[in-house]
Every structure is written in C-alpha cells, then in structure tokens.
C-alpha cells in the first residue's frame, strides 16, 4: 500500500502478511503482521514493524439459498509490538465487530444477479490514552465468475471470466478527543478488481483514494495475493480445520 498523509511529506509503503486458520468449521483465527517503510522528505527513510494483530471470527449465520453470511469477530492489536518510529502505537486496542456478505443472486434481476455487497462495522476500544474509534467498511462487487456460472454463458475472453470489479469504502471516526491525537474522520474509496479462477489463489488490486484531509492526499495502491492453503493442501494439517466434526461411516 502506498499513501500520502497531509502536513507530513511522507510516502508510506506497507508489506503485510495474514495467516487465517479454521479452528472449527465455524470458528477461525487470523494473525496479521507486517512492515512499514516511510520515505520522508528532508529526512532519512525509516522501516519498522507494525503492531501484531490477532482476530477471532465466528460464522454466526449462513444462508446459502439467500446468499447471506454474517460473522462476528473480536480483533486485538498488541500495543508496543511494532516500531513507534513508523507510527505503531504503544498502546493496544480491542475491536469487537460484525461482518456480512449478501449476494443478489436469489433476486429476479437478470444480469444484476452477480452483484454482491459486503460490509464491516466495529468499535475499537483503545488501551490507555489511545482514542476509541468507530470503524466501518462496505464493498460492492460484480462477479464475472458468478455471471458465467449461474446466469448466462456470455462470450468473453478466458481471462475476463475470472474478474470481479469491486469498489470498497473504508471509514474510521475517532469518537473521543484525546489531547495528543487527531480526531478527524478518515474515508478512503478503493475501486479495483480481483481475479480468481478457483485454482487456490486470488489476486486483487485497488486504488486508494483519500477523500478527507485527515485521510491524506495522493492516490495509493493496494495489492493483495490470497493463497488458499485449504484448497492447495486440503488433506494436510495446514489445510483442514483443527477440529473436524464426526464423519458418518
């Protein structure tokens, strides 16, 4: 990811990695860490670790006929595990939240059926002097793989058949004013595309367009490669949930 911040002539690049593991079929854990590199005008560059994060996520509702999914999650950022020189907080934070996904494939809307909406809302409780923040995000996407597999055999080049145009919006609003921290709302709009042909990996790339002064200025880019270990190594310990329900004989 690359982004510019206002009043701070800095170009920032993040290299992050996330490992997700199913504990049961409904409960998963996600571990996230990464490096932040900052190029500063008039000063030397600096590279350091971001804070380590862990998230527990539980699939509370799954309704395949209506293409609906609802999950609850609890994320914890471990304060002080990153490098303060790159902006990692000394104090941690815990965020309970909820995510949902809704496909429109069950509606009689023809070629609009591949549309899907996903969303997230959470409240970050900061430790110590760290400001509490309300966070939310929403995405709208149009899945070409869904179009050619569930709606119509549209004639198009092979590579297009794996594309999903997507636009995401991220929003964060500090709800308490702390004397030494900013309190402005950040809002990023991220249009992009992801590609998957069901081979165990997915590639996504999005522009990051800041829309408020607190968000920064200049357009950034985020690229994500998702490798599905449960697809590539399905019969190994890595690919299976830790606890699998009993199988009928």
């Amino acid at each position: 990811m690359k982004a510019l911040k206002p009043f701070d002539p800095t170009r920032q690049t993040n290299f992050g990695g996330t490992y997700s593991k199913l504990i049961t079929e409904d409960l998963g854990i996600e571990l996230e860490d990464g490096l932040i590199h900052r190029d500063r005008l008039g000063a030397s560059s600096v590279t350091g670790a971001q804070n380590f994060r862990a998230t527990l996520q539980y699939e509370a509702m799954l309704d395949p006929p209506h293409e609906f999914l609802l999950s609850v999650l609890l994320e914890h950022e471990f304060g002080g595990t990153g490098d303060p020189a790159v902006g990692s907080e000394k104090h941690g934070a815990t965020t309970p939240g909820v995510t949902f996904g809704k496909g429109l494939g069950d509606l009689p809307i023809g070629y609009w059926r591949p549309l899907a909406i996903t969303g997230f809302a959470g409240y970050e409780f900061g430790e110590g002097p760290r400001t509490n923040t309300f966070q939310a995000g929403i995405s709208i996407q149009y899945s070409i793989p869904y179009l050619v597999s569930k709606v119509s055999n549209v004639n198009m080049p092979s590579f297009l058949r794996g594309m999903t145009p997507i636009t995401e919006v991220f929003f964060a609003n500090p709800v308490e004013r702390a004397p030494d921290q900013g309190t402005n709302t950040t809002l990023v709009v991220a249009p992009g595309v992801s590609y998957s042909r069901g081979r165990g990996w997915e590639l996504g790339i999005e522009a990051m367009i800041p829309t408020t002064r607190a968000t920064g200025h200049g357009i950034g880019v985020i690229a994500q490669l998702l490798v599905q270990l449960d697809y590539l190594l399905p019969e190994s310990v890595i690919g299976r949930p830790i606890f699998v329900p009993t199988e009928l004989p």
Partner: protein
Amino acid sequence: MPRFENTNRKLGVLFAILGLILWVDTAAATPAGTVVAVSGSCTDHGRVLDRGDAVQVGDTIDVPTGGNLKLQMTDRSVISVAPDSSMTVVGYSIDAPSRNVRLSLTRGALRAQVSSIRDPSTFEVATASGTASVASASADWFIKAQPDAAQVAVLVGTIDLRSAVTGDSVSIPARWGTRLETGLDPVLPRIWAQREFNAVIRLTGTNDPAAL
C-alpha cells in the same frame, strides 16, 4: 447311411454356430462388477438385481425411490447408487496396470470410492451438464445429476469437473464441492461443511445389513 451322415453334418454346423454365438456373447459381456448390497427393487434392463449378481459393460441400472445399490467393481472400487437413480456402465476396462472407466449418470446420485492405481487411468462419470473425472490416484466422491445441473463433492482425492457446453473446468480438492448448471461454466468450488457431506453419505448409503 448317407442320410444319417447328412444329419450329423447339420448337427455339427448347428453346434459350431451355437458355440460361435456363445463365444461372441461371452466376449461382449465384459464384467464390470458385482452387486454386494441391494435394497428395493433395483433393476438392470428390467431384470431385478440380487446380491451376487454380475454387472457388465453396457448395463443400465435403475434404483427406485427408497432403494439403494452397492457395487464392488473389478478394480476393487465401490460404487453406491442413491435412490431414484439411473446409471449406465459405458466402459469398464481394467488392463493392469491401467484403468479406463466411463459411467453415465442420467439422474440421481452416486458415491464412487475409487481404488488406488499407480498408472495413469481414466475414471469418469458423465451427466447431461458435464463430466467429472478423477484427477488423483484414488478418490472418494459424490456426484448428483439433476435435470438442469450436476453437483460434485469430494471427500478424498481430486476431481475435475468440465462443462459439456463451454468446456471450462474446475478442480475440486478434498472437502470441497461445486455445482455445474447446464450450458454454463462450473461454479468456483467452495469448502463443504461436514453436515453437507453427511447428507450425501446418508443418501448413497444402503439399508442392507450385509453391506460392506
């Protein structure tokens, strides 16, 4: 005497023709497997099947509503056919160490527990929507044929599912499944929950207490 010799010659010709017919019939009736469990009035071209009956290449097996059938094939693979299903053994050739198996599922569902084989082999099940084929040395998987779609789920191994119309295919690994609607590309595979597998295991199970 000449009349008697003439009769003997005619009988000899008749026996030769009969023998030839029997030989040709035996050669054409390639054994594919044996019924090891059956419940309900399952038929093969109208003939009611019992445990121990042979199933041959070219046979079409019909399992009625409420019935079940389990076959032990000649390569030690096991095929369990669900109620309200119709399956044809199009080909079942075992020329060790290779294997060439072609089944056709017109309707219903089956579970194929495909035995391990070292050399390249073909084990495929065709439906109106597309063809599913084993892409691993062995496999334990399910296929369901509906009027306008096919569904595949894999417990062990890897299965390729190819659309009959678009030619597009997906690979389905163990514990994943997917669906193929007639005339379209296969849906991208997803992880199947154990409760979904249990439902198809029940569907293709047999009530015969003497089952394997």
